[in-house]
């Protein structure tokens, strides 16, 4: 619980507030106290908690996998190396299944996204008050530990995927080919005048579908994890409502956590799979 016996609304708001560092309206730099101050900082502010946890988990992933990679030989694998190889083969199989072109980037990209997103999602299973309480004891006012409940994180990754999609679209098909893809379909005609007339309609449709890819990719992950986190927060509210409610809360939290494992895993998998599919679309001619 946050300090000074907060109301329910305050409790929820507190849990949904990132630790934001930026420039205050008075010109000084520092951490925002409350949602209004954070909002007032505008674009040039950074969520320290999101960055900290995502980079920590990403580094943890790469450190562990790098260690396993250094030990990887053609000999019989054991322990953690087995686990790593299992994940790598799983990702490799998925990439082979959906991606039919030659590109050394796609499989490592898929692996990174899958494990990184999975680790970030898994933070959702840590009871909602543990880490914020520890942070509070250390004098940190806000602490949101699940990076994927921050749209910045999911949009950031989706943006990376989107840029790659554009890059490979242009690289494989050329600027003309990519432009043609955006303007010459789905409405097609042999008559050149009709063709030109179709261009705005085609471009509108294709542009929307192009932009919707990163938006849906990031919003899907964000929405699922945010909703899950929200329910954990609501369940956590039960703990302050007496013994009976606390027991019910414990049971509910356990049950929701079990169910949430599925979402944690599934959303990481979907994020990876869609990334592979988008890159496949970028590589193939329509």
């Amino acid at each position: 619980m946050a300090s000074d016996a907060p109301t329910t609304t305050e409790y929820i708001k507190h849990h949904l507030q990132n630790l934001t560092f930026g420039q205050h309206t008075d010109g000084s730099w520092g951490i925002a106290h409350g949602a209004a101050e954070a909002k007032a900082m505008g674009f040039w502010a950074i969520h320290l908690d999101t960055m900290f946890w995502s980079v920590l988990l990403g580094a943890l992933f790469l450190w562990g996998f790098r260690k396993a990679a250094l030990r990887a030989t053609a000999q019989t694998p054991s322990g953690f190396l087995n686990f790593v190889e299992w994940i790598v083969e799983f990702v490799d199989e998925n990439v082979r299944g959906s991606f039919s072109h030659k590109n050394d980037l796609v499989a490592p990209l898929a692996l990174t996204l899958f494990v990184w997103v999975l680790l970030m999602n898994t933070m959702d299973l840590v009871p909602v008050d543990w880490i914020p309480q520890i942070a509070h004891l250390m004098g940190i006012e806000y602490m949101k530990v699940v990076p994927t409940t921050d749209p910045n994180a999911t949009f950031g990754m989706a943006l990376g995927v989107f840029v790659l999609t554009l890059f490979y679209s242009i690289k494989i098909k050329g600027v003309g080919g990519f432009a043609a893809e955006l303007t010459m379909q789905p409405f097609q005609a042999n008559n050149p005048i009709l063709k030109i007339l179709f261009v705005p309609a085609n471009f509108f449709l294709e542009f929307v579908s192009l932009v919707s890819k990163p938006v849906s990719l990031s919003l899907r992950l964000f929405g699922n994890l945010f909703a899950g986190e929200m329910i954990f927060i609501l369940i956590a509210l039960l703990f302050s409502g007496g013994a009976m409610l606390a027991v019910a809360g414990g049971v509910l939290q356990w049950a929701w956590a079990v169910f949430h494992i599925l979402i944690v895993l599934l959303q990481a998998f979907i994020f990876m799979t869609l990334t592979i599919v988008y890159l496949e679309m970028a590589h193939s001619h329509h």
């Binding site: 949904l16 990132n18 934001t20 930026g22 954070a38 909002k39 900082m41 505008g42 674009f43 040039w44 502010a45 950074i46 969520h47 999101t50 960055m51 995502s54 980079v55 990403g58 992933f61 790469l62 996998f65 790098r66 396993a68 990679a69 250094l70 990887a72 030989t73 053609a74 000999q75 694998p77 790593v84 190889e85 790598v88 083969e89 490799d92 050394d104 980037l105 499989a107 490592p108 990209l109 692996l111 990174t112 996204l113 990184w116 990076p147 921050d150 749209p151 910045n152 994180a153 949009f155 950031g156 990754m157 943006l159 990376g160």
Partner: protein
């Protein structure tokens, strides 16, 4: 939940992580996996090859054994034949030897008999002459009647 600089920070972190994974994590693991796959495939192929070799060797052993058996049979058969031949030969030579000994004995007997006959004849002739000379005494001149006596001897 404001969109802010975190977006760019995340993008940068994402790019760095993917780059690191692509450079230092993915290649060694996949290389090891592929190497192991090749090694296992080779091992399986070698095992299969070994099985084939074993089957071939067993076939060879069976063939050699049967050949050896056949040869042994052949040798035994030949030995038996040789035995029979040797017995036959021995029998033959024994018969020939027997015949020869018999013939020699017969001719010896004949010779002895002839000699005895000759001696007997001579003695008979002598006796006859002596008898006759006793009978005839003076009338018979042994010189004058030698021819007649000889003829007599030859007739005996």
């Amino acid at each position: 939940m404001n969109i802010n600089l975190t977006l760019i920070g995340q993008s940068v972190a994402f790019i760095v992580f993917v780059w690191f994974c692509m450079k230092f994590v993915w290649p060694p693991i996949v290389t090891a996996l592929n190497e192991r796959k090749t090694k296992i495939a080779d091992g399986l192929a070698a095992a299969e090859e070994g099985q084939r070799e074993k089957a071939k060797a067993q076939e060879h052993v069976a063939q050699v054994t049967s050949e050896a058996k056949e040869q042994a049979q052949e040798i035994i058969r030949r030995a038996e034949r040789r035995e029979v031949e040797m017995i036959e030969e021995a029998k033959g030579s024994a018969r020939v030897e027997g015949d020869r000994v018999l013939t020699a004995a017969r001719s010896e007997i004949d010779k002895e008999a002839n000699m005895a006959r000759e001696a007997l004849r001579a003695q008979v002739a002598g006796l006859a002459v002596a008898g006759a000379s006793k009978i005839l005494a003076r009338e018979v001149d042994s010189d004058a009647h030698a021819k007649m006596l000889d003829d007599l001897i030859a007739e005996l």
